[in-house]
Symmetry: C2
């Protein structure tokens, strides 16, 4: 076991990894990406403030919602520097991400409903199949709406 200075105020990378359930290599990776930071001992080993655990927890949650690391990093960058994110900071992040999540859920739900309507009806080859122009975002990229083309002969 690695002792970590007075009163366990700082954590080694191994401790961070085991407490967060995130691999050491991933912790290094997140640091390289600027999501977390550390100070160094005289021997050049990383020491993390305990607040890093909260950030890692937030990263995990955000990733589950499908948010890329770059966006998580952007959000962290807008937080007051050098401090543990507060409950208030968390509130801001989480409510933003909850909205993103909601949107994605709605998209997937629409898609699922359209799938449901199409199952067994053979409408994939019929001109008014909802899947011919699903979700949103297939959108405008040519003259006229972009449709999925499904007709036979």
């Amino acid at each position: 076991m690695t002792g970590c200075g007075v009163l366990q105020r700082y954590l080694s990378v191994g401790e961070v990894a085991s407490r967060s359930g995130i691999a050491v290599s991933a912790v290094h990776f997140y640091e390289r990406k600027g999501l977390i930071s550390s100070i160094r001992t005289d021997g050049n080993q990383r020491r993390f403030h305990r607040g890093v655990l909260r950030k890692l927890a937030i990263i995990k949650v955000a990733q589950k919602t499908g948010i890329p690391l770059s966006e998580i990093g952007d959000a962290f960058d807008k937080l007051p520097p050098n401090t543990v994110p507060t409950a208030k900071d968390w509130a801001k992040l989480s409510s933003q991400w909850r909205d993103d999540l909601n949107e994605r859920i709605e998209q997937l739900t629409r898609l699922r409903d359209q799938l449901g309507q199409c199952i067994g009806c053979g409408c994939l080859s019929i001109s008014d199949c909802p899947l011919r122009n699903p979700a949103d975002e297939l959108a405008v990229d040519g003259p006229g709406a972009r449709l999925l083309e499904l007709e036979e002969h």
Copy 2:
């Protein structure tokens, strides 16, 4: 415009691309991955049966639900070979994928609800925060449940 043989029975890669809204490079890519197939002209150019459009439409839909190409390929492999997927084939695929989609929607919904409960409550640092053991699947990988560790000092 490239004429495509008698009665437009076959499509060139460019036609497939513009009708499906998928880049030529992606069509090539899908063919390399075995998701679609083509025959060749004397001059070694690809000619696609129109049924390829249906497959491409299915690929697009499946990708939206988050299904990787490899799985889409597996599903196609179980279809009767050398034919256009029928309505019945489609029914099978889509109902399977709808189930997957449902599961993912449920997971995301649980996560969203947990996020909602946590916003502004500061519970990220309180021991019974639902985010301390969210979704599912953080599951068993050590002795005792794996928790996100969020406590301060």
